[in-house]
Symmetry: C2
Subunit: 415 residues, 2 copies
Amino acid sequence: MNNPAGSREVDQALRTRARDVMPNGMYGHLSVRRLPPEYPQFYDHGAGARVWDVDGNEYVDLMCGFGPNILGYRNSIVENAASVQRERGDTLSGPGECMVELAELFVSSVSHAHWAMFAKNGTDATSLCLSIARATTGRSAVVMDNGAYHGWAGWSNLSPVGVSPQERVNVFRYVYNDLPSVELAFQEAGPENVAAVFVSPFRHNAGSDQEMVTGEFARGLRELCDRFGAALVMDEVRAGFRLHHGGSWEPLGVEPDLSAWSKAIGNGYPIGATLGSKKFLDGAERIFATGSFWFQAVPMAAAIATIQTLQAENGIDAMVRAGNRLREGIDRQSKEYGVEVRQSGPVQIPNLSFAGDVEFERALAFCGAAARNGVILHPAHNWFLCAAHTDEDIDRALEATEDAFRTVRAKFGGT
Amino acid sequence: MNNPAGSREVDQALRTRARDVMPNGMYGHLSVRRLPPEYPQFYDHGAGARVWDVDGNEYVDLMCGFGPNILGYRNSIVENAASVQRERGDTLSGPGECMVELAELFVSSVSHAHWAMFAKNGTDATSLCLSIARATTGRSAVVMDNGAYHGWAGWSNLSPVGVSPQERVNVFRYVYNDLPSVELAFQEAGPENVAAVFVSPFRHNAGSDQEMVTGEFARGLRELCDRFGAALVMDEVRAGFRLHHGGSWEPLGVEPDLSAWSKAIGNGYPIGATLGSKKFLDGAERIFATGSFWFQAVPMAAAIATIQTLQAENGIDAMVRAGNRLREGIDRQSKEYGVEVRQSGPVQIPNLSFAGDVEFERALAFCGAAARNGVILHPAHNWFLCAAHTDEDIDRALEATEDAFRTVRAKFGGT
């Protein structure tokens, strides 16, 4: 398992070639250029909760493709369902029967949903929600958390580079779990101009500790949206089906009007979904939105198998069990090495930060050492458990984090 | 082949279920609710250039999934390449070696390209071009054809429903092949504000005859962009790799700065690409854009196999041969039945319209009869040939169009 002398030769050669033909040699959330040098950029294969880089080094993968891997890489039930559909067809000149089946499955699984649309990206799903909210309400303004990522489109991109200022004039920001800040955002926008309020099931902004939603905040958002006639839009892209087999706020009894899903719903097959209530069906029927691959049958067959398997095998329980084992182990190691950490968010979508680590130096050293020892984590983004993480996977991950704590202690001292 | 009494029972039952769980029972470009009742909404399988609907009726498919099918459904070379990659992994926690190989293949195939980025949708690819042009130029305005479709995003959607007015203030329109109208659009925007001029390789706006680009227009656009410091952006999403193995304007000797690709590049596997020149690398390196499935290895392996096979097997020649056979056959039938038609655009991406058919009544009757007789066409959108269309496929399609001409003649008389 330990890869202290793991070769990086193939990875380095590919990085050199990549720099000649791609911006920065790699772009987006999977670029490792801001991560420690121990991270591989290129992977060869995966199985269950393990990945192997192009030099043959093996890792326990606690990122799960940043969410899509929820049942385990190459899960046989999902792969078989995809294979059966693929033998018939995928991107044909019209959708297959499985599109209706998947829409029915979503509508029966997620309590607020009366209808479903499918797309490819999480950004497609959130942008569909905004368009539908605008079409139904006839308004333009959108209210959202001040650090939340709802996709790379102009209205939601956290970076202003390449975005026209006009795309942002309708965006107003609030602080998560702070209801007065939402009311203030409504006032800034003019309450009669607000088409939608976006919210994540819990606060999972990159670079900060996570925060569970309070029931008061959830109910307050619902009440504000009802009072002013705005759509409450739940961004389930990151958390969907990892917290609950329906919508993430169903245990709270608070229903959104629209919700955006992607990542885990096809266990790695590319699909996004927008779900909505009866009230917003009219807007959904009047907008024009489409994509060449939105009607692909294989990812829909994979999604049906993923959702059914997750329910049948109690996948969420498995993720919670593995997540608790990881959280407890890290907590134990933190105390043992005298390095203070904060673990936040649901155990199945965990986040780790270090006390006093403003520049992420400890997090980077920790994750670099973990990668060197055969586990893939992230220093500034939440991690993801999947239902394939076994006790053995977690114990191996904890061997790696033990060395990582030792490294942080040696380099930065105790806290 | 003829399906005059073809059952529609399974399709009708699925449509009824779909209306309960999807907006309008189906949305986007694959919805058949505005097409004649003979069209199937749901398909069961496909092979080569044929598709079968859920009731078992067989069709020669002249829509090719609206473009993605370029080598034939379930092409064995592409499927084998995808299968080999799938056995290793698809959506892992990082890209695979094939991402570098695909970027290298694009850069070596398309003359203007110095770098490549990959995404999922055509809309991703065109929106990336706009963001990169804005980042590089520091400007916001975009100049484009007055009826061209460059995706469903707010800046490019042809429908205003669900789009905020502010998303459109930077859009200025020209008439294809009319250089003075482009100069006027520059003046309206203020030449110093124009980030990008979008253009399609030929005019292929829905609902109108197609028009090939003139060399004068192509060179004039390049000159205007150079004079005012704007990016010339080629939208290859619909035409890419059907006209030329490189960029569509390479035979004209006019190179864009940025180009957007999707549809055919993975023979049905979901992938989009943005290519750019050295000058626009800086903007590409500064924007933030990403997607959970943008780094999927299987569609990249499929794209490599698709592009290589298309070149090795002279796929474009095969499409041109089939397209010429179709165009000549339709021309002959048009004369024989005394029904005047216009066939426009490249033979491998053909468009058919009827003289005096302002309300598309003849086109709808024609395509309904064709569908009833086992061929899938479209009354208001161009069609697509693929390299798998055999002479026999085209001759069978022409049997169907003969009956369709007979139907139009009987219903509307000669022209």
